[in-house]
C-alpha cells in the first residue's frame, strides 16, 4: 500500500470482469451515485463519471479482470484501475486519438474508436498510465474538487509522488507517464 492509500479517508473497490459486455458501464453508474450521494458538484461528478466509464470499458474490452478503486480526498477525487490482461505495448501511441486495437465486438458497442484514453486525459486534472505487455495496465486519474491553478499544488499536500509508480516500482518515465498540466506530460 502506498502513501496515498494510507491517507485515504474513504475508498470503494469495484471488481470488473473482462469480457462481460452486457453490464459494461454499470460500475460507472454506481460511482456516479456514490459521488452524487456525497454531494459533489455536478461538474466534478460528470468529469469523474466520464473518465470512469472509459476506464471500465478498457478493462472489459482488453483485460481478464481488474479492480477500480474510487478514492475521496478532501481536495480531489481519484480513481485507480489495475487489470490483468494484454497490456499496452506503447502507451504514447495508445494515447493518440484514433489509435485503436479494438475488434468488431467492441466497435458494435459504440467504443473502440481510439478515443477512450484521450477522453480520460481531457476530462481529468491528472492522469497516469503504465502498462506491461501480457501482464496488465495501471491507470490513475484525478479530478480536483476545488478549482486550482496548478494541479500539482492540489496533489502534493496529499503526499502523492508524481514520478513514482507504486504498481511497478519504477519511475513513471521508464514506464511511460501521461499527465495533464505537469511538465513531464508526454502529450504535445
Amino acid at each position: 500500500m502506498d502513501q496515498t492509500e494510507r491517507a485515504t479517508p474513504f475508498h470503494k473497490i469495484f471488481r470488473i470482469e473482462g469480457g462481460n459486455f452486457t453490464h459494461a458501464g454499470s460500475i460507472s453508474s454506481r460511482v456516479k451515485r456514490v459521488l452524487k450521494e456525497a454531494g459533489f458538484q455536478s461538474k466534478v461528478i460528470r468529469r469523474m463519471s466520464i473518465a470512469t466509464f472509459e476506464a471500465e470499458m478498457n478493462v472489459i474490452c482488453y483485460a481478464r479482470h481488474g479492480t477500480l478503486t474510487l478514492f475521496v480526498f478532501p481536495d480531489f477525487l481519484k480513481v485507480v484501475v489495475d487489470d490483468e490482461g494484454v497490456g499496452i505495448k506503447d502507451v504514447h501511441q495508445a494515447m493518440r486519438e484514433g489509435f485503436s486495437t479494438a475488434d468488431e465486438k467492441i466497435r458494435e458497442l459504440g467504443f473502440g474508436a481510439g478515443m477512450g484514453l484521450s477522453n480520460i486525459k481531457n476530462v481529468t486534472d491528472k492522469m497516469v498510465l503504465t502498462s506491461e505487455v501480457n501482464r496488465g495496465t495501471h491507470l490513475e486519474f484525478m479530478v480536483n474538487v476545488h478549482p486550482v491553478r496548478n494541479s500539482c499544488e492540489a496533489l502534493n499536500p496529499a503526499g502523492i509522488n508524481l514520478k513514482c509508480n507504486p504498481a511497478t516500482g519504477g519511475t513513471a518515465e521508464q514506464h511511460g507517464i501521461i499527465s495533464n498540466g505537469v511538465k513531464d506530460g508526454a502529450e504535445k
Binding site: 453490464h23 459494461a24 458501464g25 460507472s28 456516479k32 460528470r46 466520464i50 459504440g110 474508436a113 476530462v123
Partner: protein
C-alpha cells in the same frame, strides 16, 4: 421543446418514460459512437436529447452517467426488453422513430432544437 413535441414531430413511439413527456429538452446531439457522446457531454449535456442508432445497454449507462434528458433511437431500431427495464430503473425516457438520423436531426433543428455544441474544439477544449 418537450418530449411530447419531439414525439409529434417525428411520429415517435415512447418506449420508456411515458410519465415524463412534459420534460423540457433544451439541446440535442446525435452520435452512435459512445466515446463521442462522452466527449461532448464533458462540456455539459445535462438534460440533452441523444439521437442515436446504437441500441446497446451501454447507451443507457452512458445517458445515466452524463445526465442526459432522453434517448431517441432512429431508423426504427427497437431496444431490447432488458434495455427498456434498465432505462425505467434509471428514469431515462426512450423514444423511437422510423426516420433516419439525418431526417430526425433536420426535423428537430427546423423546429428550433439546437445542438449541445456546434463544433469540436471550441469552448473549453
Amino acid at each position: 421543446m418537450t418530449l411530447s413535441d419531439i414525439r409529434r414531430i417525428l411520429d415517435a413511439e415512447v418506449i420508456a418514460g411515458n410519465e415524463s413527456l412534459d420534460r423540457e429538452i433544451g439541446h440535442a446531439f446525435a452520435a452512435d459512437l459512445l466515446s463521442d457522446v462522452l466527449a461532448i457531454a464533458r462540456r455539459g449535456a445535462d438534460g440533452a436529447l441523444l439521437i442515436t442508432g446504437n441500441i446497446t445497454h451501454q447507451v443507457i449507462y452512458t445517458a445515466d452517467v452524463v445526465d442526459l434528458g432522453a434517448i431517441l433511437f432512429v431508423r426504427g431500431k427497437r431496444p431490447s426488453d432488458s434495455m427498456i427495464q434498465l432505462a425505467n430503473q434509471m428514469q431515462i425516457p426512450l423514444l423511437m422513430t422510423s426516420y433516419i438520423m439525418f431526417e430526425t436531426c433536420g426535423r428537430l433543428y427546423e423546429q428550433g432544437l439546437k445542438g449541445c455544441i456546434e463544433k469540436a474544439g471550441d469552448g473549453s477544449d
